[in-house]
């Protein structure tokens, strides 16, 4: 698989720490919802650093969008969120990954569980579901610390008004007055409340920091969900 060059068309701030980078990539072969790309940066002295980022856009969307969270020790993310400008070029390899992917399967309701920037590939799946006009029921459970940390908040709230789309937030540290969403970290009880019953046979996609994913996946299995219907993807600092 070869590296190709994408040109930055736009950079949109999402939250204090995250930005969406819109790329124009000549001869982009298209992607599946949930896939990612590898991004490689090369310094003037030849030093290279490479990271994998989830694609935030749906296959139907114009342009390739990566939403990147700036990590405190992130040598790649701190460049992508903060220094990158319209017109800059990025080296990309992808799309890659065939596991954490949803193609519109009618095999069951679609359950998306995201923590922090783990929302990114789930957002691509949600947009794909809506763009397709699919009748597959979809539910999102999205955990963040504070309201200002919710990426795509307005878009997700609007998506929740579409038929068959159920958007639920949990805020673990800070909540606005009158908050009527969930108010705690993901645990077995919250999973039991927010996820369809195992008998409904949802396809479940869990993405977030490693600890978040382990808690959610263990809770799902202990509640009786089939391991083969649970797909996971772990995010985390990857500095070398």
């Amino acid at each position: 698989m070869n590296w190709r060059i994408g040109t930055v068309v736009d950079v949109q701030a999402e939250t204090d720490r995250t930005a969406s980078i819109v790329l124009s990539v000549p001869d982009w072969p298209g992607h599946r919802a949930g896939q990612h790309v590898d991004v490689r940066l090369t310094a003037e002295d030849g030093y290279q650093a490479q990271r994998s980022y989830s694609i935030a856009s749906a296959p139907e969307d114009e342009g390739l969008v990566l939403t990147v969270e700036r990590l405190d020790d992130g040598e790649v993310s701190s460049y992508l969120v903060g220094e990158l400008r319209t017109g800059d070029e990025l080296e990309l390899r992808g799309p890659v990954g065939g596991y954490f992917v949803w193609d519109g399967s009618p095999a069951g309701p679609l359950m998306l569980i995201g923590g922090g920037s783990g929302i990114v590939p789930l957002r691509a799946m949600l947009r794909h579901r809506i763009a397709q006009g699919s009748a597959v029921p979809v539910r999102l459970l999205y955990s963040a610390r504070a309201p200002g940390d919710l990426i795509y908040r307005d878009e997700l709230v609007a998506a929740g008004r579409e038929p068959g789309v159920d958007i639920r937030f949990t805020l673990t540290r800070e909540r606005p007055d009158g908050w009527n969403g969930y108010d705690r970290r993901i645990d077995r009880e919250l999973i039991a409340d927010a996820v369809w019953a195992p008998a409904d046979r949802p396809l479940v996609y869990v993405c977030g920091p490693t600890a978040f994913v382990e808690v959610a996946a263990d809770a799902l299995v202990s509640l009786g969900h089939e391991p083969g219907r649970i797909r996971t993807e772990r995010f985390g600092p990857t500095g070398r």
Binding site: M1, V96, G98, Y99, L203, T238
Partner: protein, 87 residues
Amino acid sequence: MLDGNAIAGTLSTVFGADMTLVVATCGGCGARGPVAETAVYVRAPGLVVRCRSCDSVLAVVVERDGRYCVDVRGVAGLGEPPSPGGR
């Protein structure tokens, strides 16, 4: 610690196909699961892939001067993923 999804691009470059759905058998404990679910450490020099059940090293991938060196001696077997119809 990440998982096998994070190295899909490198594995795809090395093996010439997407490997994340391929089912790997651990040479240490015999646990089987998709490559996407393995534990991956990228802070080491190169990439270290470990079994999620017993923590044995399954594979090490090192890149130098654009060439990959891959050690998969911890893998007892690689098999076809379950058919898509099975889900």
